[in-house]
């Protein structure tokens, strides 16, 4: 078996190398052609000894690359010396390639169909591979990144907790500073281990206040990642101790935009959250740990002194050389047991969770990208089948020409070579056009990419993408050339020359074509089914009522810098002044804000006690701290009672508003108005009920929610999502909003300004992107399959002209002929649909990687997809059917096919 495959590999390589060598100028081939050929083959044998499976493939790739690089220079050199050599009688002849080119040019329709198919197929594949390459294949910018792991704690107790936040934390729970100390000392698995937490600071004193995001981290993180600063230094142990001077490292981006690339910034103090901090280094732009970010600072003193149950850190570590992750996990098991013994009671349910760093960065996207790559691969496969079909038809209609040439002494091998050359020529051209298409469409596609996609900023074509395109072209050329070659190799000149129609081989070939078409339809149908399922889910998602009105409002995140306005009442005072400024603008209808407005990404929950109709209750609820006309600005209807603002105006002391979910869950009969809830030991009176909103995203379920007034919980609302509802387009208010904030305080940053509608729609960006792509691929696949049906039917009509003529002469009506041809098209399509249904059903599981909760096939989707494809199949059969019906029995019977 192995011997057979090697033999095949060698044979294929041999003919490929021969073809490749024919690209060189005759002068070189004449002198060195044989040598080069045996040289390549010897290399191939050597490669094969090293790697029996891939040796020949490696040789072919190398030979293609070598020739692509070298042949043009040889031609140039040849022209230079203008030495014309006599035409060599050997196998390599540029004339062969010229002839192939002529053959293609003589059949513009055929050539255009092939080129179009290839351009779309290779183009789409290259485009998706660019995504895969940028997101999955490009190595992380860290030395030996395959040894990096991240670690969290786990807590068994929370796996079944009622609070969803706790449940989410069960597997990825942060660690405390003491645990980090233990983890740096006890395990043997790590070369080094560091820890980090998110960081957000406000930089003031340099133009308008700017919010910088990044991480607090221990100095080991830089060792773990093995990164060097662009300027200055990173942290060391002296930065990482209690009482150390405050230091920070900034990104190359921040250094450029905020500090104007001033090198004197190193060592100079800046104000971060109002505290003087010394910038000690600038990191290169490749350093994006943990996810983007512009500033890194050591863990704060206060946080270093927090106890074992105060968890806020994530650990990142580099495994020792030679350690597997399994061995490292075993080591950590030992450490966890030791920590448990040393801290009895505290850490009983606490474990650890160790994952490859690379895997956590790429996360769920991996599966989704592979589904896309699979789908687009199916499109290319359909394209291949189509082209093979076209070539087959060509080969048949050229049978006479080939037979003549065979009779004149051209070997069968030679005819095979001809077809092969045409295939390679057309695949090469189509591939080049496809790469061009991908290059042109890459930029527009970037705009559609979900913002959450990691590495989306770094997407571009590189050598890997080109190599992929070359490889796909090679595969296409091999697949496409194999099918016609199998048939030509059997060409016997005598029947074709003698004019006999060789009925049995014809029928066999028609059946073969039919098989190809059935395959195409099956593949296309499964993609169409998938696209329809996704589209239905997306439509369902987008039409989910979200409870508020996203159109016509502008939103921005305004966070007061730490260490400022720390007196109760100062926060409310600030936001009231901002709201007054905004309210005065023409066209503004309502202004308000919340500590966590829906779809803003912020979320907070808390525990309250209250007396409901069922008795005393303790409940975990979502909490928002709101001010001004928040409900009006959001377009959130008040169902009962009044807002906190108006209740306060009427003299209520501690009013809150609750949502309908809460109200109906606990006071189903007489409503919650006037009832009391206790929060942080203080009583609050429920003044109103508002409608439920989807808070996190479209799929979010409702949960009890309490809106507290900023007037009461002043310091809890230091960050507000301001919402401005206006009668004018929201974007026209962007600069007014900034001005309003800066007029009150220049040191308060304004972030994430966006129309509320944009903020909402961004949450559906990933499903929308995937649906759009799959739908495009499905459309492409369907069109290609139909071109296939049409082509095969046309071919069989041409082949069976005489038969049709006889039938008509015997009295068959044109309608009957029409029906017969269309019927055959529908039969082929129907077989394809049945097979495709099986494929589609199997593929539905893969769709869950693109979108959560894709339901299984429903009759409606199935019927819609079937009707669509069947309708298209009828349409595709129409043209050949009409052609058949126009057959004139007299001419059909007198001329041979």
């Amino acid at each position: 078996m192995v011997g057979a495959t090697q033999g095949l590999g060698a044979r294929v390589a041999k003919s490929v190398v021969q073809q490749i060598l024919s690209v060189y100028p005759p002068s070189l081939r004449q002198r060195h052609g044989r040598e080069m050929f045996s040289h390549f083959m010897e290399m191939g044998r050597a490669f094969n000894r090293q790697a029996p499976r891939t040796g020949w493939i490696r040789l072919i790739v190398l030979a293609v690359l070598d020739t692509a690089r070298r042949a043009p220079q040889e031609w140039l050199a040849d022209r230079h010396t203008s030495r014309r050599s006599p035409r060599s009688g050997w196998r390599f002849e540029p004339g062969n390639w010229r002839r192939a080119f002529r053959v293609l040019r003589r059949r513009p329709g055929f050539t255009a169909a092939c080129l179009l198919t290839l351009t779309l197929g290779i183009g789409a594949n290259t485009l998706i591979f660019t995504l895969v390459n940028g997101v999955l294949l490009r190595p992380m910018p860290y030395d030996e990144s395959d040894r990096l792991v991240v670690m969290w704690q786990t807590n068994e107790n929370w796996r079944n907790a009622s609070n969803p936040t706790l449940r989410a934390f069960a597997d990825r729970f942060p660690l405390s500073y003491p645990v980090y100390r233990d983890w740096t000392e006890l395990p043997r698995a790590f070369q080094s281990l560091g820890t980090y937490a998110g960081l957000k600071v406000v930089l003031t004193g340099r133009g308008p206040a700017t919010t910088l995001y990044g991480a607090r981290l221990t100095h080991e993180v830089f060792d773990v990642l093995r990164v060097q600063p662009l300027l200055g230094r990173t942290f060391n142990t002296s930065d990482d101790r209690v009482g150390a001077e405050r230091t920070a490292v900034i990104s190359e981006g921040a250094w450029r935009t905020v500090f104007g690339q001033d090198t004197s910034v190193i060592g100079s103090p800046v104000l971060l959250d109002g505290i003087a901090t010394r910038i000690v280094g600038v990191m290169p732009s490749s350093f994006t740990f943990p996810d983007g970010g512009d500033i890194w600072a050591p863990i704060e003193d206060a946080d270093r002194q927090r106890p074992r149950d105060s968890q806020f850190l994530t650990a990142i570590a580099r495994l020792r050389g030679g350690w597997t992750i399994e061995r490292a996990r075993e080591d950590m098991e030992r450490v966890t047991r030791a920590i448990r013994t040393a801290n009895v009671g505290d850490q009983d349910n606490v474990g650890f969770n160790m994952q490859w760093y690379e895997a956590t960065v790429v996360g769920d996207v991996r599966g989704a990208l592979f589904v896309l790559l699979g789908a687009v691969g199916v499109v290319l496969l359909i394209g291949c089948v189509n082209i093979a079909n076209l070539f087959l038809v060509q080969a048949r209609s050229r049978e006479h020409e080939l037979a003549v040439r065979a009779a004149l002494g051209a070997s069968r091998w030679r005819l095979v070579q001809d077809v092969w050359r045409e295939t390679w020529l057309i695949t090469g051209l189509g591939g080049a056009l496809g790469v061009g298409l991908a290059t042109v469409t890459l930029q527009p596609m970037l705009g559609l990419l979900p913002r959450a996609l990691p590495g989306r900023a770094e997407l571009h074509m590189d050598w890997r993408v080109l190599a992929f395109a070359v490889a796909s072209c090679t595969v296409v050329a091999l697949v496409v050339s194999l099918i016609p070659m199998m048939r030509i190799a059997r060409t016997d000149p005598s029947p074709a020359l003698s004019g006999s129609r060789g009925g049995s081989t014809r029928r066999e070939s028609v059946r073969f074509h039919g098989m190809l078409v059935v395959t195409e339809v099956a593949l296309a149908f499964s993609l169409v089914l998938g696209a329809m399922l996704l589209a239905r889910e997306l439509r369902g998602l987008l039409s989910t009522p979200i409870g508020f009105e996203p159109e016509g409002a502008l939103t921005a995140r305004i966070s007061l810098p730490d260490n400022t306005r720390t007196q109760d009442g100062q926060v409310m005072d600030f936001f009231r002044r901002v709201a007054d400024e905004l309210q005065a603008l023409p066209g503004v209808l309502a202004v308000g804000g919340s500590s966590s407005s829906p779809f803003s990404g912020s979320n907070s929950s808390t525990t309250i006690q209250f007396q409901s109709e069922a008795g005393q209750d303790t409940l975990n609820v979502a909490r928002e701290v709101v001010f001004g006309g928040y409900f009006a600005a959001l377009g959130l209807p008040i169902l009962q009672g009044q807002t906190t603002t108006s209740a306060l105006a009427e003299g209520a002391s501690r009013p809150v508003v609750v949502n309908r979910n809460f109200a109906e869950g606990f006071w189903p009969d007489d409503g919650p108005i006037g009832h009391t809830i206790t929060y942080r030991g203080e009583p609050y009176t429920i003044a109103g009920v508002v409608a439920d909103v989807r808070h996190v995203n479209f799929a979010d379920s409702f949960r009890p929610r309490v809106y507290f007034p900023l007037e009461i919980l002043d310091q809890d609302g230091r960050s507000q999502n301001i919402i401005v509802r206006a009668g004018v387009p929201p974007v026209t208010l962007v600069s007014s909003l900034r001005d309003a904030v800066y007029s009150v305080d220049r040191d308060v940053p304004v972030e994430s300004i966006a129309s509320l509608a944009d903020q909402v729609s961004q949450r559906a960006a990933s499903p929308r992107f995937y649906t759009l792509l799959i739908a495009a691929f499905a459309g492409l696949a369907a069109v290609l399959a139909l071109v296939g049906i049409s082509g095969v039917l046309s071919y069989s009509v041409v082949q069976r002209r005489a038969e049709i003529g006889i039938r008509m002469a015997l009295g068959a009506s044109r309608i009957a002929i029409l029906r017969a041809v269309v019927g055959r098209g529908i039969t082929l399509a129907a077989i394809g649909l049945v097979l495709g249904l099986g494929l589609g059903a199997a593929g539905t599981r893969a769709l869950t990687l693109l979108m959560d909760d894709v339901r299984f096939l429903t009759p409606s989707v199935l019927v819609a997809a079937t009707v669509l494809l069947a309708g298209m199949a009828v349409a595709a059969s129409a043209v050949p059917a009409l052609r058949a019906a126009r057959v004139d029995p007299r001419t059909a019977l007198t001329s041979d096919a």
């Binding site: 002198r31 040598e35 045996s38 070598d66 690089r69 050199a77």
Partner: protein, 110 residues
């Protein structure tokens, strides 16, 4: 000829032929191993260079060298360095030595 530096490929081919006559495949493997795999003379580059080097009179083809193993492929052509080639090789090596001496003087290398 002697004014300009030799192309690195030519230099290595001459060097490979300095000791003994070799066929194309032999030149490739010799240069590969001598340069630790950094100088790859795949056939396109190799035979293009060989052709021009023959035309330039630096090497010549020998049909059946006496040292060739008896079972060797008869189709193979062997190449032998000419006197001119040897001179070019020496000049190139001397030029390189000169560069090295200058670099050493400036303490670029030790």
């Amino acid at each position: 000829m002697s004014r300009n530096a030799l192309k690195p490929q030519w230099f290595h081919i001459l060097l490979a032929l300095a000791g003994e006559d070799r066929h194309g495949y032999g030149i490739m493997t010799e240069v590969l191993s001598r340069t630790g795999g950094t100088m790859k003379l795949w056939p396109g580059v190799l035979y293009g260079s060989l052709r021009r080097m023959v035309d330039a009179g630096l090497i010549r083809e020998v049909v059946n060298p006496s040292e060739a193993p008896p079972d060797d492929n008869k189709e193979r052509r062997y190449y032998r360095i000419t006197a001119r080639g040897r001179r070019a090789l020496t000049e190139e090596a001397e030029r390189m030595a000169q560069y090295v001496a200058i670099a050493r003087e400036r303490s670029v290398i030790t």
